[in-house]
């Protein structure tokens, strides 16, 4: 089909809809464009291409690399913590250092790795490509978003070098202890942490506006919301959550900064510290907890929803089967997102808030299990009668199902207020949230990297190394966190630098600690294998064909692979269907790309989407 012909065809169909109410008989017609084609910024120098880039694809990669780099620090910190727990006799850490590492590990992994990687990384890379846009709506603001993130990371890391070191307040930063003597880093460390978070929120807001507006405004012709890949639904909904949730964190941080620097008393009641009565009076520590968890619980879903979306697409593509119950999946994502704002105080059942809240929050928390369970059912029903390719992305997706299922079910323990009482503040909690929002989303991230690596580099990652990486990571992390739940039953409290020989703790529990630590060291080391694969495959990997996984979504349909600046050459793509037309009866191939017009697949018994 020549360009000219297409233009004529378009003009005719547009005319038809404008001039009369007679519907177009042309089966290939798509709604006409509502906005003129986007004007792009074209870089002219090395600096503006690779450093201060305004191309969402580059920004995505920059975000991802910065996040992974910070995450590696988080990984090393977890090694040091685990060595202390298993081998306290070594005396590598003192309590202050231990608590500082716990805190930094937690904050880095949740905010600076997972949030930044899913939204900043995958969001930037995939939103324009999957929606069929040339770039984000506001490329310049997008660039600022990344650099604000970099500054936030630098401020965070700077806290390792100030007097007193980084904050050791625990990642939840609960006042009063976060800013009073007795907690490591209670002077400068905590201030830098708060400033870093404030910068992160500012940077994220710039990026987040971009993701939302791009999804809403710049979709290709024919790309209705109900034809969007679930990846985009996940990232989009997570971004909306973040826009509502992060302000709570922001004000919490600002108020605590004022409490610390100016002596206000937002969160500070009258209290004694080092034998002296402080000048604070009348503040409420529980207020901070409400603000923190009003952010903190949606934050779990800010990480989980993109993982849900991505894993849905990976499962569908690699089992050559339509995602089961697409509409239900979309509504589940939106429903979980909305409900996630009504469950925050389940982190606070034993916080000293009015205990009657427990009834409300236990109920809302268990209700959220229903849409979440629907998602799990639909993933496994996608596998049912599929044609399952055990490629790397599929392996990691299967790993995700097992770990997420496990972590999700233990959530039913902790969400049910009564069961939470004996288990809260024990290793059961640590095991639960690592399984559900650590391991599960990270397995998706790995699957996604193996899946989209050819799109970024034009080469495939090494399969053998990838398989070794998968088995060690999956089995190893299950071996770390599954038994850890049982330490929680014993009653081993979390955030203990050393447990000593407590009368109620069997020596075998300490033995289990050693086992877990050894598993942690091995799983951590296996990530080096992944990094090696990631780096060397960019040069040495097998050249990838175009659309190597035979996927339907738009990112694989660009004229060049990897896609060039502007993504789509001269013509923006037109979309005729959803991205899940796999194994359609009567079709020649077992996949029908979203931009393949109906006239080319006559005979395929495809359901209208």
């Amino acid at each position: 089909m020549s360009d000219e012909y297409e233009h004529k065809l378009e003009a005719k169909s547009d005319y038809a809809t404008d001039a009369s109410s007679v519907p177009s008989t042309d089966i290939d017609s798509v709604p006409k464009a509502e906005l003129p084609d986007q004007e792009l910024y074209h870089s002219h120098s090395w600096w503006t291409t690779y450093v201060f880039s305004q191309d969402a694809k580059y920004i995505g990669i920059q975000y991802a690399l910065t996040a992974v780099g910070t995450g590696l620090l988080g990984l090393v910190l977890s090694w040091l913590m685990r060595i202390q727990l298993a081998f306290p006799g070594l005396g590598w850490l003192d309590p202050a250092a231990y608590y500082q590492f716990v805190t930094m590990h937690g904050m880095i992994m949740v905010v600076y790795l997972l949030t930044a990687l899913f939204l900043g990384g995958f969001g930037n890379l995939l939103i324009p490509l999957m929606c069929g846009a040339r770039d984000m709506a506001f490329p310049y603001v997008n660039m600022l978003s990344y650099w604000a993130f970099v500054v936030a990371v630098v401020v965070l890391l700077a806290s390792f070098f100030v007097p007193g070191g980084p904050t050791g307040a625990g990642w939840t930063l609960y006042p009063p202890q976060a800013i009073t003597a007795g907690t490591p880093g209670s002077d400068m460390g905590i201030i830098l942490m708060l400033i870093s978070l404030i910068l992160f929120v500012a940077g994220f807001t710039m990026g987040g506006l971009n993701y939302i507006i791009t999804v809403l405004q710049l979709r290709a012709r024919g790309m209705t919301l109900m034809r969007l890949p679930l990846t985009i639904w996940g990232i989009f909904t997570a971004t909306v959550l973040a826009m509502f949730a992060f302000p709570a964190l922001l004000v919490g941080c600002l108020m605590m900064t004022l409490d610390s620097l100016l002596g206000t008393s937002f969160f500070m009641p009258a209290m004694v510290s080092l034998g002296e009565t402080l000048t604070h009076e009348g503040g409420s520590p529980i207020l901070f907890q409400h603000l923190f968890w009003f952010f903190g619980h949606p934050e779990v879903y800010i990480v989980a929803l993109p993982a849900f979306g991505i894993v849905s697409d990976l499962l569908s593509v690699h089992s050559r089967k339509t995602i089961f119950g697409y509409r239900m999946m979309v509504w589940a994502i939106v429903g979980i997102g909305a409900l996630s704002f009504f469950v925050w105080a389940h982190h606070m059942y034993v916080s000293g808030m009015n205990p009657w809240f427990g009834f409300f929050f236990a109920t809302t928390t268990l209700i959220i299990a229903v849409p979440t369970a629907i998602k799990v059912y639909n993933w496994i029903l996608t596998l049912w009668r599929g044609n399952i390719q055990l490629s790397l992305p599929m392996l990691f997706s299967l790993g995700f199902i097992v770990t997420f299922l496990n972590g999700g079910l233990t959530g039913l323990f902790l969400g049910n207020v009564t069961v939470d009482v004996p288990l809260s503040d024990t290793y059961f909690v640590v095991a639960h949230f690592h399984m559900v929002m650590g391991i599960a989303p990270i397995l998706v991230i790995f699957g996604a990297i193996y899946h989209w690596y050819p799109l970024i580099t034009g080469r495939m990652m090494n399969e053998t190394l990838g398989k070794i990486h998968f088995w060690i990571t999956f089995i190893g992390s299950y071996a770390i966190y599954f038994p850890m739940h049982y330490q929680g039953f014993v009653g081993v409290p979390r955030r203990y630098f050393e447990i000593y020989d407590s009368p109620y703790i069997d020596t075998s529990t300490l033995l289990l600690n050693k086992f877990i630590t050894i598993a942690v060291l091995i799983v951590g080391a296996a990530q080096l294998l992944f990094l090696y694969n990631l780096i060397t495959s960019a040069r040495l990997g097998k050249k990838s064909e175009k659309n190597p996984w035979k996927a339907n979504s738009l990112e694989w349909q660009t004229p060049q692979m990897p896609p060039e600046h502007g993504n789509w050459g001269k013509e923006l793509p037109k979309v005729y269907r959803w991205p899940y037309d796999f194994s359609v009866p009567g079709a020649k191939e077992d996949y029908i790309p979203q931009n393949q017009p109906p006239s080319e697949i006559i005979g395929a018994k495809v359901e209208k989407t």
Binding site: P269, F359, A362, L405, L512
Partner: protein
């Protein structure tokens, strides 16, 4: 094949670990055995779902592995199946929630015959206060805390005079008598936690929180702080000893009232200042 088998083995291994590993909760020593019962119920329901789904996945991976001559089924939706699964889940969730809420109601409703004990937490240790003969704990204020008045009782409040002050890391409790812990901290957050009792509640500066329990067996138990409170958190341990009535009375008789302690401390100070003078 290997993948399906691994998922199968992980599931079977998890069940085996659950039933045969040596790591399980300590023998309960309070009336909150029904928390354990709720956990067991949760285990059965969630365990069933876990096993069913993992086996289903393993079966799919084994049965529907890739064959280039075969096509996957084309079935985007199944409304009936989806709504059945939704309802089944909702019922399962309700079955978990209902008993949980019943027990929670008991947990937050203190029986009227419960006697009171104030637990006093600080960085990093525990003290206790008993109401004395009048059964009423005197009012406190942080501003009153001095060397002579380490608990910060408001001296003008006469209810506090006969309060028994336990300035040691050890508390005794009566067996089979409900006790309400009134939880107070003078600095940061803490949490009064005895694993065998199952109960837990944060202590928050500025307010008094509470929970209650009935000890059901005598013994010597370790108290741990369960809310992070700074560098000394891990060392904030204490002891609770559950006694029969006789032993409890003996221990109680040894404790000093606020009035006496204040007098003693003031005498000590006068002595010190007079010596200096």
């Amino acid at each position: 094949m290997i993948v399906a088998l691994s998922i199968f083995l992980i599931t079977v291994g998890s069940i085996a670990f659950h039933f045969w590993s040596p790591w399980w909760w300590t023998e309960v020593a309070s009336n909150w055995g029904n928390m354990d019962d709720t956990i067991i119920l949760t285990f059965w329901i969630t365990g069933f779902v876990f096993v069913a789904i993992c086996f289903f996945v393993a079966y799919c991976v084994w049965k529907f592995s890739y064959n280039k001559d075969r096509r996957a089924e084309y079935k985007p939706e199944d409304k009936k199946l989806e709504s059945r699964l939704t309802w089944a889940t909702a019922i399962g969730v309700a079955a978990l929630l209902a008993p949980g809420l019943v027990v929670w109601n008991q947990y937050v409703t203190v029986p009227e015959n419960a006697y009171k004990v104030e637990v006093f937490a600080y960085q990093w240790g525990w003290k206790y206060r008993l109401p004395g003969d009048d059964g009423i704990l005197g009012k406190t204020d942080i501003k009153y805390i001095t060397d002579e008045n380490p608990f910060g009782l408001i001296i003008e409040d006469t209810n506090g005079k006969d309060d028994l002050l336990v300035d040691a890391q050890e508390l005794h409790l009566l067996i089979d008598r409900p006790v309400k812990f009134e939880l107070r901290t003078i600095d940061v957050l803490h949490n009064f936690y005895v694993p065998q009792f199952r109960g837990k509640m944060d202590m928050v500066p500025g307010i008094v929180t509470y929970y209650w329990l009935t000890p059901t067996r005598t013994g010597d138990f370790e108290v741990l702080c369960a809310e992070y409170c700074g560098s000394g958190h891990y060392a904030m341990r204490g002891r609770v000893i559950v006694d029969e009535e006789q032993d409890y009375k003996k221990w109680e008789a040894k404790q000093i009232t606020f009035e006496k302690m204040l007098a003693k401390n003031q005498k000590k100070r006068q002595f010190a200042t007079s010596k200096k003078g």
